[in-house]
Symmetry: C2
Subunit: 123 residues, 2 copies
Amino acid sequence: MIDALRFDTNGLIPAIAQQHDTGEVLMLAWMNADAVAETLQTGRVCYWSRSRGALWRKGETSGQAQLLIELRFDCDADALLLLVDQTGVACHTGRRTCFYRAIRKDGVVELAGPIVDPATLYG
Amino acid sequence: MIDALRFDTNGLIPAIAQQHDTGEVLMLAWMNADAVAETLQTGRVCYWSRSRGALWRKGETSGQAQLLIELRFDCDADALLLLVDQTGVACHTGRRTCFYRAIRKDGVVELAGPIVDPATLYG
């Protein structure tokens, strides 16, 4: 079934994580074919870390895991939408979502502060 | 303010479009700095078409435009979340969202059919 997906020249596909019941967009990260396969098999979301060049089992270090509810893909089969149940916070800054800043006419606005001290996640 | 964003080696940044009031994730596309600037200036979403290599004013041909409600960006400043008000359908297949298929244990499932005949959008 993964053959249906189109990975880019680096073998990656962007994946949006959305909280399944509230609709909140939590983060955007990347997957390779192995990450997609592991996520479907285990039901726990696994990304590909471009900075570390390794599989990134979300929550492995921080405990802030994502349970997969459903994996969707788009019309061009080159983007994924993961409906998840997020434990705690998605963002490494301790915020629920990574999308906590907005560009407005008067500048950059911070919409939400940390609800968990990042030091407790990675300390 | 666009200087706050990190574009990739192709000068692009992925942008998620989400219907502002329902939370529905409509599509994922790409923007360059000019597309971000135009979107902020006009309040109508403009992407960068990688296939055409040109600015893509969403709805210019189909009429299915996206009014920008808010432009958010993530912790790494390398992904955008556009809260929009979508006119009609986001997907060129005539579906409301591009993410209309899911991978399930028993195979690929289609979750929604077209609500508009694509021929009427691009005919």
